[in-house]
């Protein structure tokens, strides 16, 4: 019998606000966090909207770097989760966190007045704070040191599946007996001009800029791409006995995780849908459940024509006639990329706690061919287990099964 992994703290930051309560209220109300981007100039860009988390440190013309925003949001989410769990820093267990790759950005690159790389390298010599800001391991390490986590912080990047992979690494460490508690998190702030341009060049983004709130419309006939989102979430995970021994309130459980790599294409799922089916199947089996036990699916549901079609097909293949109600909360918070797996697992836990299904908004023209109950409006529902899907560019797929507290 596997140890059950209890969740004793949840923290969340999205474009809907800071804190799980704020987020849950907005999600149930069907509010959108998508708006026009104001922290940089979007003149001439195909996509000019995102689910932005702007911070007081953002100055006109000098927005925070990806790395700095990842760190700020990650800190807020972890601090909230830790406070709820009744634990405090130094945490004394490991941190697994989904984070985006970072690099020096244009405001820094162009700040030295150099016009060639050799000149830039000489001019930038010894600007140690920038080096520390833009190391791949920089932001995650600062979070680890801020909260006193143990060992090497696992900074995982499996693109849009990173948050799910982080949960998986953390529960593996607990099940292996390496630790009795861990922080699993995700934080992403990839929204900077060059990333927005790169995604647009791949035709991955919605260009339905007006009105912004209607752009992210998973499972609709007029879905035309995803909307980038900033966000972070953190879960405090413990083996159940550890949580009970210290008298912690158990908010829910991470019952199982499954992953499956797709060898078909960098940005598309295999047309047979089998890698996604295998991924969901493995997660449900890891939880010791059968598909009939899943009462709700929080879909990857990016609002791209391709993903939503493939995901609906794969859900149909696995669940047959008895499709669980399925929503994509990306309709409200955008696609938070490396954080999505953690944020959406947190949303599943909140849904299980409240016994309410969060909606997919913008369903005026639902794509009925997909055959899903997409939950256009939040509604009460009695269920014990939920499935959260995350499928990444590069064929990295992770599904997580969350369970209600007893």
């Amino acid at each position: 019998m596997k140890t059950r992994i209890a969740v004793t703290g949840i923290g969340m930051v999205t474009a809907l606000g800071f804190g799980t309560e704020t987020n849950w209220d907005a999600l149930v109300a069907g509010r959108s966090g998508v708006r026009y981007i104001t922290r940089f100039d979007t003149t001439g860009m195909r996509a000019t909207i995102a689910a932005c988390v702007d911070l007081p440190e953002d100055q006109p013309g000098e927005p925070l770097s990806v790395s700095a925003r990842v760190e700020r949001m990650g800190e807020a989410a972890i601090a909230e989760a830790l406070a709820q769990s009744g634990l405090s820093a130094p945490f004394g267990g490991p941190l697994s966190i989904g984070v985006p790759p970072v690099e020096i950005e244009w405001p820094q690159r162009s700040s030295f007045g150099a016009v060639t790389y050799p000149a830039l390298i000489e001019a930038a010599q010894g600007t140690v704070p920038l080096y520390e800001e833009f190391l791949f391991g920089g932001a995650g390490t600062r979070l680890a040191e801020r909260f006193g986590t143990t060992g090497v912080p696992q900074m995982v990047t499996t693109a849009c599946a990173s948050g799910g992979s982080a949960i998986q690494l953390a529960i593996e460490a607990i099940r292996n007996g390496e630790t009795r508690k861990a922080i699993a998190a995700g934080s992403d702030a990839s929204l900077q001009p060059e990333t927005l341009i790169r995604f647009a060049l791949l035709h991955a983004l919605s260009t339905r800029n007006d009105p912004p709130e209607a752009a992210s419309r998973p499972f609709s006939l007029t879905r035309d791409g995803f909307v980038m989102g900033d966000g972070a979430a953190a879960l405090i995970l413990e083996d159940e006995e550890h949580a009970r021994e210290r008298g912690a309130t158990i908010l829910g459980y991470v019952l199982g995780v499954g992953e499956a790599a797709d060898t078909f294409h960098r940005t598309r799922s295999s047309p047979d849908g089998l890698a996604i089916v295998r991924c969901m199947e493995r997660a449900i089996a890891d939880a010791g459940l059968s598909p009939a036990d899943i009462g709700y699916i929080n879909a990857h549901g990016t609002s791209t024509p391709e993903n939503d079609k493939m995901e609906a097909m794969a859900i149909g293949m696995l669940f047959g006639e008895a499709l669980p109600p399925t929503s994509s909360t990306k309709s409200m918070i955008g696609h938070t990329l490396s954080a999505a797996g953690a944020i959406e697992a947190a949303i599943c836990l909140l849904a299980l706690q409240h016994q309410i299904l969060p909606p997919t908004i913008n369903q005026e023209d639902v794509d009925t061919a997909l055959g899903l109950d997409t939950i256009p409006v939040a509604r009460p529902h009695t269920f014990r287990a939920a499935l959260s899907n995350s499928f990444g560019f590069g064929g990295q797929n992770v599904s997580v099964v969350l369970g209600a507290a007893d």
Binding site: E103, S110, F136, T158, F199, Q396
Partner: protein, 360 residues
């Protein structure tokens, strides 16, 4: 009950070339292959021509730059070395990664034009190749390995410079030991011929300037292009294990605690036998290298960075691969150590298959 983990295949590519024989020949010490002019004052160990097109389909090659090509190539070498081509569908993959190459020419055009913000965005929109993003994304080295070699178990990518390379091996090894995976492919690639990487490390004052010097005499890192992938499997039942990975441990914390963490990591290594070889993957970065050498007490037999240059995420996997080659050449036991240029420490102990079983 922990199961024993074996290294069953090696995929190595570096400035010296590719494969086991080329790299086994380095173990007695060898002159470095250098390019001291191209990025002067920073010497680097350049990549030799490798026949990427022989193993990577043309349409896939177009979506990668050198970093991904090199990693995909070395991963393929490891699969061939282990004879695992028939079992790729069940292999779990863990990659330690930085990111892929930028378009330096476009960057310099923009720097020279010094446009306003909107003008800069226009130059990026007009100038960036759409596929370059896929070559840059950190997790797409693993993605490209899955696509090219059909590796279809799980796939994970860890960020975080040197210690990510060690942590990747530790995580994969722990899964096999715990029975949640049967076969693993783990490793990393690094290209030193990259202006964007030189910029990052120069900002940290981490690069050695001037003529090449052996590691203990360096005042910073001398980067090298290289990739190292290992296949890991359960020792029991492995048909031709190269070495037993009998111990691997990592740690990380603030720099002031590094000497104590290194001492604790070394103290926890199982007993070293007479004839135990010590390979250090020290980066050359001043303070961590000093702390690593002090913790070891005696000079290592080999610095991997002397032979290959410092390969960042690939440095620890490359150290393990060199250690496995030493075991294959008859050394009974090898200790591999490393301290990241900024954060992170790791140790591993490799032993000759059979040696362990006799004394267990």
């Amino acid at each position: 009950m922990r199961r024993k983990v074996a290294i069953t295949g090696l995929g190595l590519a570096s400035s010296h070339g590719e494969g086991r024989a080329v790299h086994a020949a380095l173990l007695g010490g060898a002159a470095p292959v250098l390019d001291e002019a191209r990025f002067a004052p920073y010497p680097i160990h350049p990549l030799p021509p490798l026949d990427f097109a022989a193993v990577i389909a043309r349409r896939e090659l177009r979506q990668m730059e050198t970093w991904q090509r090199l990693g995909v190539y070395a991963a393929g070498l490891a699969l061939d070395d282990a004879g695992l081509r028939e079992r790729v569908a069940e292999i779990d993959l863990v990659v330690a990664a930085g990111g892929g190459e930028r378009d330096w020419a476009l960057d310099e055009q923009i720097l020279a034009a010094a446009p306003d913000e909107a003008g800069r965005h226009r130059m990026l929109m007009d100038g960036l190749r759409p596929t370059l993003f896929l070559a840059q994304l950190s997790n797409l080295l693993a993605g490209s390995i899955s696509i090219t070699h059909n590796v279809a178990g799980s796939s994970r990518t860890l960020l975080g410079e040197e210690v990510a390379g060690a942590e990747a091996v530790r995580v994969m090894s722990a899964r096999i030991a715990a029975g949640t995976s049967e076969l693993g492919l783990v490793g990393a690639a690094f290209t030193s011929e990259r202006l964007d990487m030189l910029l990052l490390y120069a900002m940290g004052n981490q690069l050695h300037r001037g003529p090449w010097e052996p590691l203990p005499a360096r005042q910073g890192m001398v980067l090298g292009s290289g990739a190292a992938f290992l296949t890991l499997a359960l020792a029991e039942g492995a048909t031709a294990p190269i070495a037993i990975l009998s111990h691997i441990a990592t740690d990380q914390g603030r720099p002031e605690g590094r000497p104590a963490r290194l001492a604790a990591l070394l103290a926890a290594v199982p007993q070293r036998r007479a004839g135990c070889l010590v390979i250090s993957t020290a980066s050359g970065a001043v303070a961590p290298t000093r702390d690593e050498l002090a913790a070891l007490g005696v000079a290592p037999d080999l610095f991997s960075a002397d032979l290959l240059g410092h390969t960042v995420e690939a440095a620890f996997p490359a150290g393990l691969a060199l250690a496995a080659l030493a075991i294959a050449a008859g050394t009974p036991q090898v200790l591999v150590t490393g301290a990241g240029q900024w954060r992170g420490e790791a140790v591993a102990l490799l032993e000759r298959p059979g040696l362990l079983e006799r004394t267990a």
